[in-house]
Symmetry: C2
Subunit: 630 residues, 2 copies
Amino acid sequence: MIRLAMRGFKSILNVRLNLPLVLVVVVVTVCITSQFMESMNLCPTIRSERFAYKSKNIDPKVLAEIKRQWILDEGCVHGENVQNSKSGSNEQPQSSPYQHIDCSINNNDEIIDCLKHKDHEDDIYMPWNFIKRYFDVYGKVAHYDGYERFEFSHSYSEVYYDPQKEYHFDGVFLTFDTYNVEVRDRVKLVTGVEGVPLSTQWGPKGYFYPIQIAQFAMSHYCKNITEKPPVRSIYETGTMSESKWTLHNSECHVESVDNPERNSKVIMFQVPLSLSLGNGATLTLGNTVENEFSVDIKFITNGSLSIVVEGSDKKRYNIHYLTHAKKLIDFDGDRSIWYHIGSSASWRHFSRDIRVDLRKGVGMTKSKAVKKVKISIKKIVSLTVRGEGLIDNVCIQTADHMTHFLAGTNWILENQNKETGGWPIMVERRLEGFQSLPPGWHSAMAQGHGLSTMVRAYKYTRDTKFLPALRLALRPYTVPSSKGGVRAIFMDRFVWYEEYPTTPSSFVLNGFIFSLLGLYDYKMLLSSEKEAGNQLSQDDEAALRQATDLYNDGMSSLKAMLPLYDAGFTTIYDLRHYQLKTQPNLARWDYHATHISQLALLSTVDDDPIFKQFHDNWMGYTKGIRAKHN
Amino acid sequence: MIRLAMRGFKSILNVRLNLPLVLVVVVVTVCITSQFMESMNLCPTIRSERFAYKSKNIDPKVLAEIKRQWILDEGCVHGENVQNSKSGSNEQPQSSPYQHIDCSINNNDEIIDCLKHKDHEDDIYMPWNFIKRYFDVYGKVAHYDGYERFEFSHSYSEVYYDPQKEYHFDGVFLTFDTYNVEVRDRVKLVTGVEGVPLSTQWGPKGYFYPIQIAQFAMSHYCKNITEKPPVRSIYETGTMSESKWTLHNSECHVESVDNPERNSKVIMFQVPLSLSLGNGATLTLGNTVENEFSVDIKFITNGSLSIVVEGSDKKRYNIHYLTHAKKLIDFDGDRSIWYHIGSSASWRHFSRDIRVDLRKGVGMTKSKAVKKVKISIKKIVSLTVRGEGLIDNVCIQTADHMTHFLAGTNWILENQNKETGGWPIMVERRLEGFQSLPPGWHSAMAQGHGLSTMVRAYKYTRDTKFLPALRLALRPYTVPSSKGGVRAIFMDRFVWYEEYPTTPSSFVLNGFIFSLLGLYDYKMLLSSEKEAGNQLSQDDEAALRQATDLYNDGMSSLKAMLPLYDAGFTTIYDLRHYQLKTQPNLARWDYHATHISQLALLSTVDDDPIFKQFHDNWMGYTKGIRAKHN
């Protein structure tokens, strides 16, 4: 089968195909496969056509000429603009030999309209609107290189993850550097107090979802590794030298003062709270490049920070950050957005993605999902402070990832249950066919992500407060899911860590693997500490042994049970079909892609061939290459 | 989804749709589904078109008129002959708005040629030659009602079995009444001595394959139930009254004699063996209707029966049945075929399907498969006997099913191993990924078929010789497949009876279910005997308990494990993917159809909803209705 052949070919090259190769490959493909084209002997001219596909910067004129020549050679028509470029062609569309024929689907379950060549009985064409819904595939017409083609794809979800070296516990976590958790429409806002996302996925009220918070933290950790260092514009360092502060009236006051706490100059501000929001001491920013606003601030009284931004919709918006707002987030439906940031008697590093804050505000709804808002920021105009306090290091930058990473990690640290070691999820979870999980359930995926996040936080901060929390996070792995933990057993023989501790067990694959990656990160952290000559506490020695055992048990289950998730044309999300005697719960393409990435990662840390082999098979499914039938 | 809707609709009717309903349904389908047609507002005229589909005896002229009207209404073209019937149309094919467009498959894995409406971007058509190989579906252009359409089918294998009442142990076995074992090209011949098929499936030498022999026997048993009673032409009853015997020379002799053994008149014949084959005492038959020749015969010396037939190829063939032929079957490459029938000092009822014997002879090869031969029989011309013997009841009929059933049953009875109770299969069997099975392996499917066959034979003959053989046939169910039996265990908890006793176990689904049906037939036979007031022997009482236990254990395994064979778009043939950590071994469509029929049968004898539910889901897969993804 040609698609197999192609895969073979690519894997021989074992790199993204470069241009000339694509040229060869595709020409080969076309010559070998498309009988239709073969019969039209298009291969010689096709070559130049194909060349166009890959090279976006080729001169359209050259292409048009190639196509014109091709049309003259082959006498076939390829779209009107081209026709018109045909020398001496009339304006009528050229007569085509295709005529309608009825297609009876599965013995007249339905009848659709197809096309048939009037002279060739087997030269049948079926309509895309049928193929699309019947086979559940995807496609669209795409225009580029001054040329139009139909792009068919078997899956809507691409697999980007292709690790070139062994996964490392403090490195990038899968493709989390491509995640952008806070922009998801199921995230109501990034809270002003904790600086973490608030989820509305399973409840419009909004709740802290530990798995989402961990992914938020990890995504910023990974971006910090893979992205270029941030570009930063500094507007105030406490000197008032370059800064331009304007005061609303004579009752407002700012001055540069020495601050022993920080051992540097800072700006002291005093603005009566009687002034309306947005009035007070204003620092002009006028930044048209970056979106991440940050400042070091200490409020002495209640107060507020207000940012004025100019949106791509030409409107000016006021984003007010209040120490004592009534709601976490609010919007007046026009130009004003409010965030509650809470009061803190001490210095805090306050950092906000202004574009996210703007969109969450304008897109606010009472339902689960935040409205899609396209507004981007043309200019961050100014900062205005109210109340009394101290301020330093006002700057706007492209990103402040580690601040968000640490905000997420702190939430995880502070919200771990000191008894159970888990992160209870405080919303009811309904899974079709299972008893619903009342609020307070634990997830092995939360434990895994909690471990992976804190392992990185410890490596980064060396703050020992993470060590007991890490040890504690193992506990739910040892407690049966029926007793508040996440541990399940398949067929009395295979240990499993449940993403959802359902009755009966559901054995969700991707969550299980995430729980194993957490164990892996943790055991690798501790053993690397030992290798580095840092002696472990007795507790950590014990934790290392426990994490290793939990990991090994889970990995043997995974290696044994992986085939049960293979449907031969896609993967199965969980084993509810076995547990509930139903049809398999097939994984949608993005989960299938997650399965594939997870196997790719595991194949770098475990040399059992099953991971590479299943990775390749499952990758094939995204291109319609099914398992053989007998 | 419309296909679902249609299924719903049909199942409501719960009968083959009759004409007016089809009319409605299809019109609904077309109106609802085919956007393309909708946009062309074809529904009003479509109605009469659809009407044509189901009614084969509608007047083509009427159809042509309907079509002509349609074309005039809609201005679309449906095939040349129709064009020509268009009043005032020129002979040129009407200009069509469809033009070629390149389709890039899965990011340029290949490029194929599609069609696109010049004015509608999304109106794309893909070529059948791609759809067919990419999605592994089937289709062909079909002509009837003076009308042409393309018939698309998702599966090549229809499921005919739809039991209306509870399965009964002496009734029809699944769809075995549609089986025609002897014509399969893997059957070298039906042997002249035993009267059973000789298989070449796994070895060109040919061997007796108990499963095939049981299916041969059962198929005739079932045909005898479902077919009309045979039509019979009688040529000789021993009286010589109506018969016309011609003698080759004066040394040949025939006369009607009293036969005390049979207590009736029979024909005695004496023909010197010095005469060449085909010469001797000849009875003119001249039958142009039936194909099944049968005779009661007793050879006193060596001898032969020769049948002269006229083939549909106008050639005359001589089929010689010899008591002492060198080979089981032979062919001179032209007109003579030889079969070895062995000598028997006693009377035998000798019955042959002459068309099968002709085709096996002419199609003979040295390879595994018999050549496809299309010759049918225009006339059975004559019978000639040589040697000395007695002959009676020469007749030609449409069928002689119970003779073949009993021939098969006797082979099964006589070839059961009296120690193991099994039917050892004397060819090596290789299964990909498993250690190959050396000759002499046992199959749970052979045990099941053996039971089902002998149960029916006992019910039919009341011959007690079957009772110990039935009891003995249970033994391999109790012996591990590793120790020469067929018993395996899945995950230390589920008993399984192996079609192939592989290492590791392969858990083939259809063979397992056949093994359960054998147990079911046997336990139902014994319990029905008790209900009928016939006391069972102690041995049979014990066998009844044992068969019941084996059946119940197997059924609980089946109910638990059935979901593991569900791939969400087809079924899985066995569990080698779990055992060998490979991709699932998907069942090809005819095995999938077998799975469906087996579930249909089980749903009539076991009220667990799983059978009906999985039957319906699996039936859906044959129409492309997949399991949901999350």
